[in-house]
Amino acid sequence: MKTDSLLEKIFASGQLALTSECGPPRGAAPDKVREKAELLRGCVDGVNVTDNQTAMVRMSSLAACIILKQMGLNPILQMVTRDRNRLALQSDVIGAYSHGIDTMICLSGDHPHFGDHPMAANVHDLDSVQFVNMVKNMRDDGKFQGGADIDTPPKMFIGAAANPFADPFELRVSRLAKKAKAGADFIQTQCIYNVDKFEKWMEGVRDRGLDKEIYIMAGITPMKSAGMAKYMKNKVPGMDVPDEMVKRMSGVPKEKQAEEGIKICLETMERLKGVKGVAGFHLMAIEWEHRVKEIVERAGLLPRPQF
């Protein structure tokens, strides 16, 4: 075991791991965090806490993680290189670990262009791969990037993201390989709607034996409505939503669309369970936390394993 991360234990045990997401509020009220988090208690193994997602200012990921930790939940710290240079990143990593946060995800982050601070400087001192590698060296060599020793290095279980659907497709596997090589222990993928394409990607992943080097969690997002399906298809960069899916959503009356979305998501999970190399699911129920439990249950993934 590299770390004490529950996630790592579950992966090691060969069971399907399950994570979900909790976006911090745009304000200083801790209860907002608690309410959302509470809904996830007992139905997932870890909760991603996003870092100024979509480049909008929110309560810092680290602070929110601490709140979750205090609730006895298992937070996963997301960090983007967009907003901090390597000094800030490292200090937050050790800071987090000092609070017992032992799992994190290294990302580059959405471009400020999309958020409410387009005028903000775009730091990108590091890219995500370099970030992963920096945290790995902090953990395994106990060294800051500057070379100095860290007394009590942070034993972080390191995650990263992968988008199997973005272009150029043929790069997507080696892109994963780079992250693995840099020291990522697991990855969470972009929401999967086009399962065929995902399977094609997994094939490539297996061919290179990457599924042995790195745990792959399939990203799942239930669609609330046909409108959301269309939006995802057309507006969200790097998202691959097949037409059939949009058709299927629009096919049913408004009030039934939510249910249809969940059906689709369950079918997808069912199919993915059968895909060799899928080590778990990352359930991104954006502003739909209250239905996570139901979904997990219907997916037959309850109860969650204990260690």
Partner: protein
């Protein structure tokens, strides 16, 4: 080449409003090539400034002169005879030129008339695009001659982010995904495997990180 763009008229007018006589100085280098501050633009701006002044019921004398280069003291010296009773110098050169003028003509107010944009190349008539950020440690040798720092919105050095779609960047359809370009080049050159190498975190000291930079050629320096 350094590219630039004329400032909004109102900003320039704001500078010159108190003046009756100004010296409007163009530069025959980069800003001429990118049609921002050559003789022609000087002529246009001169007319515009004078008209704006007249419209406000003032008179503004504009003396137009275009130097070979504003970033070399010898050329800048040529202005000495021209300055005369001008109350301010308005420069249409890049920031380098403006500062060189300010350095040489200490008692003079020197105002920029253009915004210096970036180091770029002209894609076609009238279109210039950023190509280099002067990081001081060129990566092009391993990125197939396309710079991820200047041309990737997130300056990713290890491949395209998840937002790359059909060769375009997630921030705009008009921006090429640098990594798509890099990948295409690598394939074309048959060195795809080069992509596999992880490019380590960059040492920014060679760039702005190291503070204002200087180049000294011992063999040439006096």
């Amino acid at each position: 080449m350094i590219t630039a763009e004329r400032k909004p008229m109102e900003e320039i007018l704001e500078y010159v409003r108190p003046c009756q006589r100004i010296l409007l100085v163009g530069c025959n280098e980069c800003v001429t090539v990118c049609a921002a501050g050559g003789r022609k633009e000087v002529g246009l701006l001169s007319s515009a400034l004078q008209m704006a002044a007249m419209k406000e019921g003032r008179t503004l004398e504009v003396k137009e002169i275009t130097l070979e280069r504003q970033c070399d003291p010898e050329y800048v010296e040529e202005l000495a005879s021209q300055v005369g009773d001008a109350e301010a110098i308005v420069s249409m050169a890049c920031g380098c030129g403006v500062q060189e003028l300010a350095r040489r003509y200490k008692s003079m107010r020197v105002y920029p008339a253009v915004n210096t944009k970036f180091m770029g190349a002209s894609e076609r008539q009238g279109v210039w695009a950023e190509r280099c950020q002067g990081c001081g440690d060129c990566l092009l040798g391993i990125t197939g001659g396309v710079c991820p720092i200047a041309r990737c919105s997130k300056q990713l050095m290890n491949g395209p982010c998840g937002g790359s779609t059909k060769g375009k960047c997630e921030i705009s359809q008009d921006v090429d995904c640098a990594w798509q370009l890099i990948w295409d080049r690598l394939k074309a050159l048959g060195v795809e495997d080069r992509y596999e190498e992880n490019i380590p975190a960059k040492d920014w000291r060679t760039g702005r990180g190291g503070g204002p930079r200087k180049i000294i050629r011992e063999d040439l320096a006096q």
